[in-house]
């Protein structure tokens, strides 16, 4: 075979291998992002599953906050249906309002039931924080991989687009109420 043709075939094989390797890397990184996102969903759900118990405990001390109780239940249900981070942020804001309310009742704060719930909330929050860090790190690696040249050309070709970082969406959440033990 003509050596020129061999060279061309060799170059084509190398390019195809490069494309294959890059594509597989995009797939792996994208899956890591999806996996990390699902971890956040798990911990968010765990945190929000504490809401019914928290409402019951707070209700015993403050019967006049029906609107708050209703709004938090509604937010939680919305999140469970959509599983979107935006709805999670809304539910989180409502939960923090509930916690702030509980903090204003000294008898409630000292009760064993509330203390147990607080401990679980703190644990969930720590897990959630760690899950957010994992997610954001995976997103960073993925975004870097699909944005650098010449991988960005292949990424566009295969339909890979950048992912958003997990961020808090409003000022209320940014001033998250500290759950004190």
């Amino acid at each position: 075979m003509d050596s020129g043709i061999k060279i061309i075939i060799g170059i084509v094989v190398v390019i195809l291998l490069f494309i294959l390797i890059k594509r597989n890397r995009f797939v792996k990184l994208k899956n890591s992002v999806i996996n990390a996102k699902s971890s956040i969903d798990v911990y968010l759900k765990q945190r929000f599953d504490l809401i019914p118990n928290l409402i019951e405990v707070v209700k015993g001390y403050s019967k006049h906050e029906e609107s708050l109780f209703n709004s938090i239940v509604e937010a939680r249900n919305t999140y469970l249906n959509s599983m979107s981070l935006k709805d999670a942020a809304t539910t989180n804001t409502e939960l923090n309002r509930l916690i702030a309310l509980a903090e204003s009742y000294p008898d409630l704060k000292a009760s064993e039931q509330y203390l147990n719930l607080q401990k679980q909330l703190v644990k969930c929050e720590n897990q959630l924080q760690a899950a957010r860090r994992v997610y954001n790190s995976e997103v960073e690696v993925y975004n870097n991989a699909i944005m650098v040249f010449p991988s960005n050309i292949l990424a566009k070709l295969f339909g890979y687009s950048s992912e958003k970082y997990f961020e808090l969406t409003n000022a209320e959440e940014a001033n998250n109420v500290e759950v004190k033990m």
Binding site: A36, N126, A130, V134, S137, V141
Partner: protein, 316 residues
């Protein structure tokens, strides 16, 4: 290591080990003169053969290595007598000075000097393999094993040297060190039901996932892998990573790695000298200071990890 501790050890052991140290110095000299004797023989034979075969030079050239033989024999006889018992000095040194040093951080410290026993060496090798740190070695040496307790938990520290053999196409075998330093195993208060590795940077094949750490400085020193990424991030908060880096800097940029596997923590500290005495003086300040830093590191890392577990309510 502060002056108070060093002076305390010096006061306790300077006189006690003085005589043994002298015998040990003579014992080391015996080794040197033995080498001189062997080389003397080799060079004498070579000199005689060279002048005989080539006809070049005078056989009197063999007088030089012959003189080396004579001096070596004289020195061997003289030091040989004074070195009796010197071979056991390191056992005594470790079981007194090093055990005393360790007792400032740990309780129930014991030195197991039985490293000459084959079954013991096999058991130690199995204990080292348990960590999964080192899979590619061919030769295994353990120079000492010390057991102790830290907050009622068992800790064992070993002096290890592993080597890999490779043979080239000409049939020449070379050995390369894969690990030389201290290896430790500590039982933890909690069972994490996961594996987290904080390895020093470099290539190492592992079956568990890499964790992309969100700290540039920490990532420069360590590579983190874990079967549970969220757990790894829970333990390695930014404060914890800063504490570990601070520890590395305080210990003179020491190279170490550790891994948590369920309810055990495994450590390795690289390129540190053995606990055996290597200094020029009996109570060598530099040597003891290095031993102090190394033994304290196990405790310091465990404290950092366990504080993180408690502060972040990770287990329980």
């Amino acid at each position: 290591m502060d002056d108070k501790l060093f002076n305390e050890l010096k006061q306790k052991y300077d006189e006690v080990l003085k005589e043994d140290f002298e015998k040990y110095k003579n014992y080391k000299k015996v080794g040197g003169w033995l080498a001189g004797l062997i080389f003397g023989f080799i060079f004498t034979i070579w000199a005689l053969m060279f002048t005989g075969i080539s006809g070049f030079g005078s056989p009197l050239i063999a007088l030089i290595p012959l003189a080396l033989i004579v001096v070596s024999v004289y020195k061997l006889i003289s030091y040989g007598k004074k070195s009796k018992g010197g071979a056991n000095f390191n056992d005594k040194y470790i079981s007194t000075v090093i055990v005393d040093l360790l007792s400032h951080f740990y309780s129930d410290v014991n030195y197991d000097g039985n490293i000459r026993d084959l079954q013991f060496r096999k058991d130690v090798r199995d204990e080292y393999n348990e960590s999964g740190f080192d899979k590619s070695y061919d030769i295994f040496h353990c120079y000492s094993k010390l057991t102790m307790k830290y907050n009622e938990r068992n800790l064992a520290i070993y002096d290890i040297h592993t080597l890999e053999e490779s043979t080239d196409s000409d049939g020449n075998t070379t050995t390369t060190t894969t690990f030389k330093g201290l290896y430790g195993v500590m039982n933890l208060k909690h069972n994490f039901n996961a594996e987290i590795q904080i390895n020093k940077r470099g290539f190492n094949y592992n079956r568990i996932d890499k964790v992309n750490i969100d700290s540039v400085n920490f990532s420069k020193e360590f590579k983190v892998l874990s079967s549970d990424k969220v757990l790894a991030m829970q333990i390695l908060t930014h404060d914890v990573m800063d504490e570990i880096l601070d520890l590395v800097n305080r210990c003179g940029k020491i190279k170490f790695e550790f891994r948590i596997v369920n309810d055990k923590m495994y450590f390795r500290i690289f390129n540190v000298n053995t606990f055996a005495h290597e200094g020029k003086e009996l109570m060598d300040r530099n040597e003891l200071n290095n031993d102090y830093i190394n033994v304290k590191l196990f405790k310091d890392i465990t404290d950092i990890v366990e504080k993180s577990v408690t502060d972040n309510n990770i287990i329980g």
